[in-house]
Amino acid sequence: MKLYEFEGHKILAKAGIASPFFVTCANSEEVKEAKKRLKFPIVAKVQVLSGKRGKGGGVKIFKSEKKLVEFCNEMLGNDFEDEKVIYINLAQWVRIEEEYYASITYDTCSKQPFLLFSKKGGIDIEEVEKKDPEELIKYEINPLEGLKERNLKKIIGKDETLVDFLMRLWDAFWRYDCRLVEVNPIAKVQSGYVAIDAKVILDGNGLVRQKSLDVIPKGAAGAIPTKREIDARKIDEEDYRGSAGSTFIEFDGSPRGEAGDIAILASGGGASLMIMDSVVAAGGRCANYTEYSGNPPREKVEKLTKITLDKKGLNGCLVAGAVANFTDIFETLSGFVEGLKQVRPKPNYPIVIRRGGPRQKEAYKMLTKFAKKEGFDIHLFGPETPISVACKKMVELSDGYKNMRSHI
């Protein structure tokens, strides 16, 4: 989970890393109040999750009130790099003597965290990598021992305050289950070192033991989650057995993707990718991406079904997955049925189901009976039908349904 800069600063502050004094504002009233606590010059920074805020004009220094207020009013509530600006940070400008760069993240090849440090901070680190690779220091950290002060001194020199800063950065990284902490620039100021910026990505699997961090819910693909995305994520927070809805991406015409009309309830991290690709290849448009897997109890699938199908304008629903190893197909599809029954208005669009695995035949018997009795248009495909064929069928049926409706 990627955090806003001001949330990142809060986490770094817990580890004792200071930043210039700032106030986060969500509207012009708050901007007015914030000014009273700051002295000009003030640095205004839009809070969005995409990088490149500086280059795009999202970070500006103001010496007077009028321009500052204008800037805030112009930014708040509008889009910046395809993302709606909800917060602006107003920070005290500080005199910077030198700018450094530091980040800690995981190397997926060596399977360890590593510290990346450079005395060339304040600019894009990719640029440094290209132009001055010798200015970049990469140091792998044994996660059992942690970062060691004496080793740090060997690589960055004897600047005690800087060593202390980096030790605290490591502390923030592991203590709060971060996938990335990045400070660019670390600024040398009169009083020592401060974090001018803070980029933090939290490990989704660690959130359950970091409840005290109190971060603002985010969407899987964007900063501002839709209600469905928030509701779907809650399913797993309440119950660790299996997973359902942890990753829910709604395609609603916003920058995250073209609006779609086929609801997707996929199973499995791998199969879900293939299913999305297959629907797109067949000319369909997905209303969402989500998946459940790891044999979740039926209640979790029921909740996810309700959330996914509680959307206007759907022209089809695809429930698909690979041949399951240990996910009980009868249990999970029973959850689907329970959820489906609660959707209003009652869906009359085609529903395509393609599954295989434990108790699949039993599940299909139950579904056939259910569809007949309750009047649902359900099309069942077993493991003998390739996933891509079922996806294609979904798109055809959905197109047929749309045609029929346009003739009424």
Binding site: K2, R256, G269
Partner: protein, 308 residues
């Protein structure tokens, strides 16, 4: 022959009395696997489907003998301690196991293990020269020989059959899906391995390819690749450098996600848009190395036929 697991493999299950531990125990026993002991702290003295339960891994090894593999079936936040315990105990009893395992194995089935815990587990395992499969790994099966984990569930013979094709995937579901496709087209599998889709995993595609290279029963390897991560790039390097010389066929999934913002995470924690290499880059690197990239999933049997 096969890799990772065979008829002699002796297995212990941590969390054997739990919601997933109980069913996997009987599934393995039904398949003829030697599940020799189980562990649930505080439940020592009980039995799960004839398998004796102990309070610790060390105690289990002392009482019923050495093991080659420990399977971790505990809740996510307990996985670190369980895996650490297994690594220590396996390292301490090294060489005494009956099976093939010169390098003993910890299989972590559990999903949603925090990445820092995973990094710590993998670091300790490296120190002690113990292999780790997972986390979030469905397991491995050598059809007709044996299996580790929940792969194939209660009816592995429905999908898996003995033959010359090695199969690797992050995803458990796609292991079965690929095996079924291969079985239906008249081929079988030597060993099928699900490595798990997390950001950090123990055994990688590359590690498995090295094993498949020296495994005489494997004539070709089929893989399911995904958006995000460096697994496919690692594979291409092995092929290019001549460390893997058998036919390698791969299908890549997640093209739809390329339009999503960078850093978007999908179903697998390691499937992150823009992480390390784009799909296009991956396809190119693989093709350039001599790997066969299947455009459609259903093309895979035909591609196998052309090669073996």
């Amino acid at each position: 022959m096969s890799i990772l697991v065979n008829k002699e493999t002796r297995i212990l299950i941590q969390g054997i009395t739990g919601r997933s531990g109980v069913p996997v125990t009987s599934e393995l026993l039904d398949y003829g696997v030697k599940v020799v002991s189980g562990v649930t702290p505080g439940k020592g003295g009980q039995e799960v489907d004839t398998v004796p339960v102990f309070n610790s891994v060390r105690e289990a090894i002392e009482e019923v003998g050495p093991i080659d593999v420990s399977m971790v079936y505990v809740p996510p936040l307990m996985a670190r301690d369980a895996a650490m315990e297994a690594i220590e105990a396996l390292a301490a009893s090294r060489g005494s196991a009956s099976g093939q395992a010169e390098v003993p194995l910890v299989h972590i089935f559990v999903e949603k293990v925090p990445v820092f815990d995973v990094a710590q587990i993998l670091a300790r395992a490296k120190e002690k020269n113990v292999q780790v499969l997972g986390p979030a790994s469905v397991g491995a099966i050598s059809p007709g020989e044996g299996k580790i984990g929940s792969i194939g569930g209660a009816n592995p013979d429905k999908v898996f059959s003995k033959g010359p094709v090695g199969v690797i995937s992050k995803s458990g579901g796609m292991c079965s899906e690929l095996a079924m496709l291969i079985t239906e087209s008249g081929f079988g599998q030597s060993t099928v391995v699900g490595i798990g889709g997390d950001l950090l995993v123990g055994i990688t595609f590359g590690d498995l390819l090295k094993e498949f290279e020296s495994d005489t029963s494997t004539k070709a390897v089929v893989a399911f690749g995904e958006v995000g991560g460096s697994a496919e790039v690692e594979v291409a390097k092995l092929i290019r450098e001549g460390e893997f010389t058998k036919p390698f066929i791969i299908y890549l999934a997640g093209k739809f996600a390329e339009k999503l913002p960078k850093d978007t995470s999908l179903g697998h924690a390691g499937a992150i848009v823009g992480l390390e290499a784009t799909m296009e880059e991956k396809t190119k690197i693989l093709k350039d190395s001599g790997a066969i990239v299947a455009k459609h999933f259903e093309d895979i049997p035909r591609l196998i036929k052309q090669k073996i």
